[in-house]
Assembly symmetry: D2
Homo-oligomer: 335 residues x 4
């Protein structure tokens, strides 16, 4: 109880630095009982955990700090083992879940947008996925007879980031959408999560779009159905965590341990209870200011992790965007 | 004379495979005397030859196969010597000539577009230039106080190519132009020329825009003032030649030599005169079909050549697009 | 006859700029009948042509300008079609032929050396192959129990080029060979050929080693059994041709055509016969000096061609160097 | 006092995961007073802090876990500001300190070795430095007349890592050293430190060589004067930290804070004193096992950080290895 109470306070102190609705909901749920406006269910299959979080009201939106909509999370820790068969199961799962949100018909055409900066490895997920997307729109327009009827019109861009283009990314996408008039837009981006084990292994699919840099606290214009005028699905994978978060989580764990061992009524117990936010903040800030600042970190192996997950996502999208295309066919097409 | 006559016929046979107005004009001029609709002047300075070709009428347009407009060519063979001072002179010259065509005022804002495919080294000039452009539009919008008054609003995109995006490049640019509303667009692209010595050493600046793949014979929609609705300057550098061209030029030279040595009235002379296009075509095709097909080649050192010329062009544009900015300042900005 | 006679003279004029024994032999054979010291046989299978040239005497060596030894050429034009099944057949063929030359036993260990400069795309074949080699030596030394008995000890280096290291490549290899003591060395390198259609589609396997830059006319120390002290197999693929060669071949073809059409005794015939080497040289040089210099060219698509052939060769070597390993197993190992 | 006592115990528990002698000494010094065998002095200049740690006895060696020798640390936090002038001061300082350890004469020749894996961004420091080293050995051998007398013979290799080559890196270097016979070897490597702020901003120069992966706890053969037979200087820059370390440091800070607030004799005080290593270990391990494993992290901006520091180090070495060469001259040489 006390621990919970303590955590309740902590909650307001910690700026929730995660792009995953799953984590935001969990964090909120650790300290609150009223989950109105937040629905959640999950199941496990082939070692993959699928969680569906649904934010159903403005109230729920406020609680978890994410816009209303569906958030499907695919947690596939096995990706780290680099087993091609497992990766294909993940791609298939991603395809199924994306199709569920997309609701395509025979003539739908889709624009895939790879967000992020190709010069910054942990931020290059979007452009890397786009590189492997089976792009067909021009073929269907120029030589329709040579294309299989299972193939839908797919086009793709990697618009770059504000610091490189000088243009808000949503403006570029909106400009392209106005000309290409797709039935749906899929945006891919690298995310920030609270847990290092999620890096490169967890995929979030959301129908509420995305706000570039939102996990990093910037206020920016969203890329979503409202701004683009068409259905917008966001697919993201955590590639970074805040160094802050790592330290913070370590502190939380030790305080919880101490609390569990303390006897109510003792000096120690009182002290733990008496520890107020500003005190804890001061400690956290001491670590931060000295060592980490606003540091965002990524695993040393990020080059490998990002190539693996980019392949899994592009495979999944190639399966999702055309009818009854096998991975082998899509790979041969890309070759 | 006969040689000229011969060449006149050859002219119609050879599809002129060059993106340089300079070469198209030269080729036409070798075989024709009526230069109405085609103006040309040139001068040399610091070892750099500047040629201005002006196509002034639909008739001139037809003669050289390039749209009406100004074509400024900077031939700077010295770039191959990799001397930083010489390169800066070329950048300065490019800046001067570009400014002459652009006609910017204090509040002009400019969109730089790097055409081409970043995965194909000889086609990556555009994206490489964009990488080094001093992009300022977002800074001027978000924190105008922190920007020097000499700085103009510049933004930049590398839209990719049709095979990668599935979207005509002009559509992407048009979409961005509609939202960003620049006063001018500068497009950068790798070109095909007839002469290998021009690869990486000749820069063409044209106010008639560009047609992607036009040097390669495709019919594609132009990127120009007409399609974009704003002044459009194209900056291009030959990075490839047709293998065909190399063989063809060799044949031309030897035939000319033979002709010079032949005595009028002799069997040989008659044979040369009697050689018709189809005969020559057959020979050329024999070489082509066996060895070269539609082969487009680039020097082995293309990775180095393209980095050098991308730096020279981006330096030149950074000088041209802002007022009294030194190269050192622009480089520090980019750092 | 005359044509042959003419060519015989041409032969001495043209410096034979090819790394392929196949082409050197062909060139020699076009103008000579005495093939003593040069054996050759070829067969075709699955659209792949295999030619075995054997230089058996110092006399043969002199004729074709290649050291004594076996030269197996795999011509697989179909590689350009990018069909994975066909590529696997080529890999299998490469494996078979390499095994034939290597003569490994159960405990043999092999050093694979990727020659060339990773910063110059057409010269990066060696390093790219090494990147995909199934390297096992350290695993067999450190944790032998975890390795399948079919696996041989394979190690690999990409030593760089003289201009980057300041050290003759053979010195670096020799240094490593002295410490690692492999039973065989396989060196991979990009070659120059006479024919553009061979770029990326022809593989030469030779047991006489290689001389870096030898196709480019430099005098350099060979990488072979004599210098390294162990059996040395060289695997090379043409990635460049001399621009010179393209022009030269065009001239040869037209002269041959003219010769065929000329009537013996006529002025023209006499002229063709009278054309001496210096005259032809002058013409060729005119083209060269104006346009090409010592220019070495590669197809525009070199980035794609080199990735494809690097994969085919590394697959072939992974099959050759271990016993009964499937391509799927080796790819999973590399993953 | 108690805190100190507590830390003394902690010390043995924590495996010191740092490659910096500076940090190892600091860590030891926090908990011990006997500094025999460890000398240390430091000064500050232009915002750069230089610390010289000298391990003078086997006893000192044991204390800090680093071999006897000189360790010079250049801490230059200002590198993060990306100011070219500041960077040049750091390069000059690196040059001065390296020259101090090298003791070159007019005819000395030096081998520079870039350790690390070019495919893993945070591990690519060595190869990136080697890419920018002014390599002269071959020029001095082949065309000595064309080289300035200020130029020494410098050669350079990037040997790769065990997982890529299958060969212990020291074996490759030793092989090359045996053939090239340099008077000194300089090895460059990315390091692990305890502090994230040191990433990309702190340079360690050591005359005791380096053990690849030693910061990561592997037992591997050293690269040093003993193994190579010539003077061996190691230059390293922290590019990663253990996620573990971040959590650990956070815990240490909070425990220290709690200790400071606890009253001797109270339950809490006793508890803190009674906290034994295994208890703390368990907590740390809980964090680790759940979240971080053996995770090594690097800042999100690693691509930029590593390019900057590679340039600073190569500039410094180019200054150090030749006499009175300016940075401008060395850059022109490299161009």
């Amino acid at each position: 109880m006390e621990t919970l109470h303590y955590h309740e306070e902590v909650k307001f102190m910690t700026s929730i630095r995660t792009d995953l609705a799953l984590e935001a909901r969990e964090l909120y749920g650790q300290q609150n009982e009223d989950m109105a406006g937040i629905e959640s269910e999950s199941y496990k299959e082939h070692g993959i955990e699928i969680t569906r979080v649904r934010i159903t009201s403005p109230n729920g939106e406020k609680k978890v700090g994410k816009p209303m909509g569906n958030y499907i999370t695919i947690e596939a820790a096995g990706i780290r083992e680099r087993n091609p068969e497992f990766d294909e199961i993940v791609s298939q799962k991603l395809s199924d879940e994306t199709k569920g949100l997309l609701d395509l018909n025979k003539n739908s055409n889709v624009l895939v947008v790879g967000l992020g900066n190709w010069n910054i490895t942990p931020d290059s997920l979007g452009p890397k996925v786009v590189d492997r997307i089976m792009v067909t729109r021009h073929i269907l327009e120029l030589i329709p007879d040579q294309v299989d009827e299972r193939v839908r019109a797919v086009c793709a861009i990697a618009p770059g980031v504000l610091g490189i283009t000088g243009i808000e990314t949503v403006e570029i996408i909106k400009g392209v959408v106005d000309r290409v008039k797709p039935d749906a837009v899929i945006v891919i981006d690298a995310l920030a999560s609270r847990k290092t084990h999620r890096i490169g292994t967890t995929i979030q699919i959301a129908d509420s779009g995305i706000t570039p840099g939102s996990g990093i606290g910037n206020k920016r214009m969203g890329i979503n159905q409202e701004t683009l005028g068409v259905k917008t699905i966001a697919i993201g994978v955590p590639m970074v965590v805040y160094a802050h978060t790592i330290g913070r989580d370590s502190l939380d764990i030790i305080i919880r341990e101490f609390s569990n061992q303390a006897t109510p009524g003792t000096e120690f117990y009182k002290m733990l209870k008496g520890m107020d936010q500003s005190q804890l903040d001061a400690m956290v800030n001491q670590v931060l200011s000295q060592d980490m600042g606003d540091l965002v970190v990524t695993p040393k192996e990020v080059d490998i992790l990002i190539d693996d997950i980019a392949r899994i996502i592009s495979d999944g999208l190639n399966l999702a965007l055309h009818d009854n295309i096998s991975l082998e066919e899509s790979r041969r097409f890309m070759h």
